[in-house]
Amino acid sequence: MNISRRTILKAGLAGLVAPAVAGCNNGAASRGTGEVIYWLWDSAQLPMYTECAKVFHEQNPQYSVKIEQYGWDDYWSKLVTGFISETAPDVFTSHSSRYPLFAAKDQLLPIDEYVAQDNLDLTIYQPRLADRWIGADGKRYGLPKDWDTEVYFYNSALTEAAGISAEQLNSMTWNPQDGGTFEQIVARLTVDSKGRRGDQSGFDKKNVAVYGLGFADAGGSDGQTSWSWYAASNGWKYSEGEPWGTKFFYGDPKFTETIAWWRGLITKGYMPTLAQATSGVDVTTTFGAGKYGMTPNGSWMLGTYAGLKQVKTKLARLPQGPVGKRMSMMNGLADTIWAGTTRPEASWAWVKFLGSKTAQDIVAKAGVVFPAVTESMPAAKAAFAADGWDVTPFLEPVEAGDVFAYPANPNSADVNAVMTPAMESVLAFEKDPSSLAEANDEVNQILSAAS
């Protein structure tokens, strides 16, 4: 018995100690002092950033970059785990909806000093883009890498069948009362199961085969790809002091009348119900199946739409609203440095490189996103043209300056937690658009409690 007891104990101890010892060789300590760990989420962009890292290493032999890629959902959980356990990457791709909170919690390294010390020219970027990364505290947290706006992606076979020309599609007007020519086009694109169009008599809105307008969801607090441009072109602003809102305006009549009109398309049968729209994989797949005439979406989705081989997709401008302009949200990503990095110099060198024309030319040529550096744009335009896209509708609002920012806020997760169900209740016709005033009060309460 004694022997066996000891054997078991020994075995147990050995089992505990052996892997611990073996593991020491594999620790994070083994990486070189010039090696920067860089994270991104879009696997489609992995090849071009790998190329960037190669060029960066050639130009700066003392530094090297190790790229790790995780899908969107895993990315943020792994990043937060990294912050807590001091294992976050030195540099990572950041999003306007997330960075304000990270900055508020001191997880991001301000780069103002580096920018000043290197005399960095921030005018090489698209106007206003660089300043998106100045936080609520006035410090700069990143250099922009790309940008995006929204347009309508339309199924050109369906628009031709409806007798709608590209000119008509690109000169749509909109207002919250009758929806303007935009609504007329959407109605015409809608076809019921008997082949009658939405603007024809006898149209059966209960049995629709093709909806004129598809949508992904109720839009939450930003409505980026669902309602943001209607509201903005109706003269509405998200908040006081955009983008660092201290008081939101979801109860504003300009907003509620926009939403009331928007959900009215469901009543008219031109747009699927919220239940139908959200019960399935995603809006692009349904579009690819030829069930939607057009769907609004962001420029980062160009690759996905290009992959829908059974529909011929083209782009149309957003409609001109009551303010007399076409307005689009302009958002973008940036590379940020983790405050806990042990190699800030190398990290800065990499961020600076990614923000340079050299790197952004590489990004531009891949034709996946629009580079933040203005001079790299022609290369991107050419790359998209080679894929059959005329991306002009994305660029026009930027050139005209008719863009507005993503409603960045350190409390955006809390705001979204209120606004997502509130918007869904309205779109599902469980509550009236006027109920958004209550949601707005709740949002403002959260903001005042946090500040």
Partner: protein, 315 residues
């Protein structure tokens, strides 16, 4: 709990039954020394990877903790907030709805499948097929069904169309959300649960069935009077384990509805996760997790009591 899950004391020398007369070799300590050795490795894992994190979590439930700055003690504030939090109560109701549908259906189907595997066919292919869904990770299972149940292009709605039924917005309609998610997980777990029940069925000695047959008992009668009662210890274990697992439903919701439409599928664990990692309200999330923990403990205790998991009626 002690009264309900007592095992027959294994006696070293005598046949069971004469507990009183047992000579106590190591006095009241019994087999303690041996037990300590047998328990040592499991205890290490238990203390390091379960007890300590739980105690830490319990402490954090009394703090305000944003994950990215140090926790600050705030007494019972999180628990007080919870009482006022409509989302929390909604999440509880939704979760219970899920558990009832999920466990109810799954248990009935699993016992049925186990009986079929036991009485109908010994085919290993059948057994393999039954376990197949469990071989697929639950996130992927959720995605596959999300794809198959799509409103416009899902094959299930195509089928419904062919037989003349209007398509159903399985994930978009509030009334369908929870039943759909519950059924997806029934599909994944029924074979696995059946296998556990099947393992239990095999511990029932054949002579019991032979005796029943001699008595002229029908298949149904045998099932209700003999199989089910004798299956009880395993069935209780299966129920306790599956109900606890069911309460912690998360992945399927995260992959498909993300709590919507409106709040129809915002189950408790999804809400906890949202609070902890999206809204960085870890203290509050911990408090809710503590309540969930307590709730599960009560439910399991009740189950073990009600079903007298003690031992099989044979013993």
């Amino acid at each position: 709990m002690t009264a309900t899950i007592k095992a027959p004391p294994p006696d070293r020398r005598r046949s069971r039954g004469d507990l009183e007369a047992r000579p106590i070799r190591r006095r009241s300590l019994g087999d303690l020394k041996v037990a300590l050795i047998f328990l040592a490795p499991a205890t290490v894992g238990f203390v390091v990877f379960y007890i300590w994190p739980t105690l830490r979590g319990a402490y954090l439930s009394f703090t305000e903790y944003s994950l990215l700055s140090p926790p600050e003690f705030n007494g019972l504030q999180n628990y007080e907030r919870m009482v006022q939090d409509g989302f929390f109560w909604n999440a509880l109701v939704v979760t219970v709805e899920y558990v009832v549908i999920n466990i109810g259906l799954q248990t009935v189907l699993a016992v049925g499948i186990a009986m079929l595997m036991y009485r109908l066919t010994k085919s290993i292919t059948v057994r393999a097929v039954v376990l197949l869904p469990y071989l697929v990770a639950n996130v992927v299972v959720a995605l596959v069904w999300y794809w198959m149940l799509d409103f416009q292009i899902g094959i299930v709605n195509q089928f419904l169309g062919w037989i003349g039924i209007d398509p159903i917005a399985f994930f978009g309609e509030s009334v369908w959300g929870i039943p759909t998610i519950a059924l997806i997980n029934v599909w994944r777990h029924m074979g696995y649960t059946a296998l556990l029940v099947f393992a239990g069925l095999q511990t029932i000695p054949t002579y019991v069935y032979e005796a029943a047959e001699v008595d002229g008992s029908t298949e149904m009668k045998t099932f209700w009077r003999i199989t089910l009662p004798l299956l009880r210890p395993v069935l209780v274990m299966v129920l306790v384990v599956t109900i606890i697992g069911s309460f912690q439903i998360f992945d399927t919701v995260a992959v498909t509805t993300q709590g919507g439409p409106i709040n129809a599928t915002r189950v408790i664990y999804y809400y906890i996760y949202e609070r902890a990692f999206t809204r960085f309200d870890f203290g509050y999330a911990s408090a809710m997790a503590m309540v969930l923990f307590a709730l599960l403990a009560i439910v399991s205790l009740l189950q073990l009591r009600l079903l007298r998991a003690k031992e099989s009626d044979l013993a």
